[in-house]
């Protein structure tokens, strides 16, 4: 489109420019730390983030200067200041503070765990979770990701998309069977999502994991747009899908409706 040398032109805004690259590298250094690599040497960070030692050193020193990384001898680790970034996102969601007390009431009522999630690409991301106090709880915390296509919150969120967007996301999805029950046929999956769109809620019966049943309803903003999904997850050995619908659909829909109304009043 332009005929100027790209050096002079592209700096501010294009993907691939040096500025974007360096910022992306900084974030990839942050993401190189995890449960398997809680503390890393410079060499380990460079390998994990795909950087040269010099590049990794520069970024680690930057992060250290800014208080996001600390060094203990040769080992670097993240500091809790990192959470400020995620916290900015969580508190920027209009329903976030509003939903938690409603979800606690719901858990009290149904004695099953309740979560809220949003869509990010072809995955759902947990943003709130109220566990029930049972021996076995799923290890799903804020920030956890699951595929959208085979989860009830995912189906609620996918059902809110227009057809083009839905097709694009399904194209980007890794549609593989997690259990013998997982719907993997594209046509059947689109029909299941269309059914969710018609009825306004979703149930997924052991498609993600054997023994796990989950049902979800949408949280909507004042314009009626679905901004998140709320779920109740239960154990197939305690209650069948049919029994869960009978026992939990009404309280779930009430809770989702209450949160939506609060969002609308505040928005």
């Amino acid at each position: 489109m332009d005929t100027f040398p790209s050096d002079a032109q592209d700096a501010p805004s294009r993907p691939g420019d040096a500025y974007v690259q360096s910022f992306a590298r900084g974030l990839s250094v942050i993401r190189s730390f995890d449960a398997n690599r809680p503390a890393q040497t410079l060499t380990e960070v460079a390998a994990a983030a795909g950087l040269t030692r010099a590049g990794a050193r520069r970024i680690l020193l930057t992060l250290q200067t800014l208080g996001y990384v600390e060094a203990d001898g040769r080992l670097f680790q993240l500091t809790p200041k990192i959470l400020d970034l995620g916290f900015a996102y969580l508190t920027s969601m209009p329903f976030w503070n509003l939903a938690e007390p409603v979800m606690e009431d719901l858990v009290e009522q149904v004695h099953e765990s309740c979560s809220a999630a949003v869509l990010n690409g072809a995955e759902i991301v947990y943003v709130l979770r109220v566990p029930t106090h049972k021996i076995i709880t799923q290890n799903l915390s804020i920030g956890s990701r699951l595929p959208a296509f085979c989860t009830s919150m995912g189906r609620v969120l996918l059902s809110a998309l227009d057809d083009d967007r839905l097709d694009a996301l399904l194209d980007a999805s890794d549609i593989v069977a997690r259990t013998p029950h997982t719907i993997v046929d594209r046509g059947a999956l689109k029909e299941a999502i269309a059914a969710v769109r018609r009825q306004g809620w979703a149930i997924v019966d052991q498609e993600l994991e054997e023994g796990l049943i989950s049902m979800s309803a949408p949280i909507r903003d004042r314009q009626g747009r679905t901004i998140a999904a709320l779920n109740i997850s239960g154990n197939a050995q305690r209650k069948s899908a049919k029994q869960m619908v009978k026992a939990f659909l009404e309280p779930l829909q009430d809770a989702a409706q209450r949160v939506s109304e609060m969002v609308a009043r505040r928005g």
Copy 2:
């Protein structure tokens, strides 16, 4: 120390250099979004982050390219991808996955909320929280911050520091009375922290907030270093501080010990 022109010298690693600055600005744009500013125009972001419009635009486009920000018309907002950064930190803590089931058992036993926090500067940062299902729960989520000096988890974490470090942090603390009970005298505060160091646990009786009593014990790693604090918080109208110690100290210490042993086995 050096006599070379700073432009040529300082680029890679020093605070104040262009690279550190631009990374810091990117993170400050992320942090400019919150409950009061969930979606912002370019002009608003520039004002909130203290940047020029051109600078804010460049950073927003970078964040958008990387998937951390999305635009809806003139409004920018954060995407859930931001949570990956905080999630990297949370899962990098050796006790994080181990502590949650222990905390759920503890809540089941004592019917009060339980949290875990780490020290960051003069503040504590919540990293885990298991609420009890009562009508009034505190609005404290993962990533929330409170001053260390007047909280029981803070006193446990401060008591693990050597005297020089403790003095430095108290110098950096904003020691103001939150209630008539808050200890604000430096000598009395250091004595309270020394008492925590001797006894190995802390109770704070309505120093943060009227009606709120909290008691805490340390989570330690294999080397015996305090890496986090675990607390139970209760309501002064239900139980006095004395009654809380009698009812909850043993289960709290048991839970902290269990988590510490798991960390040691894994470390």
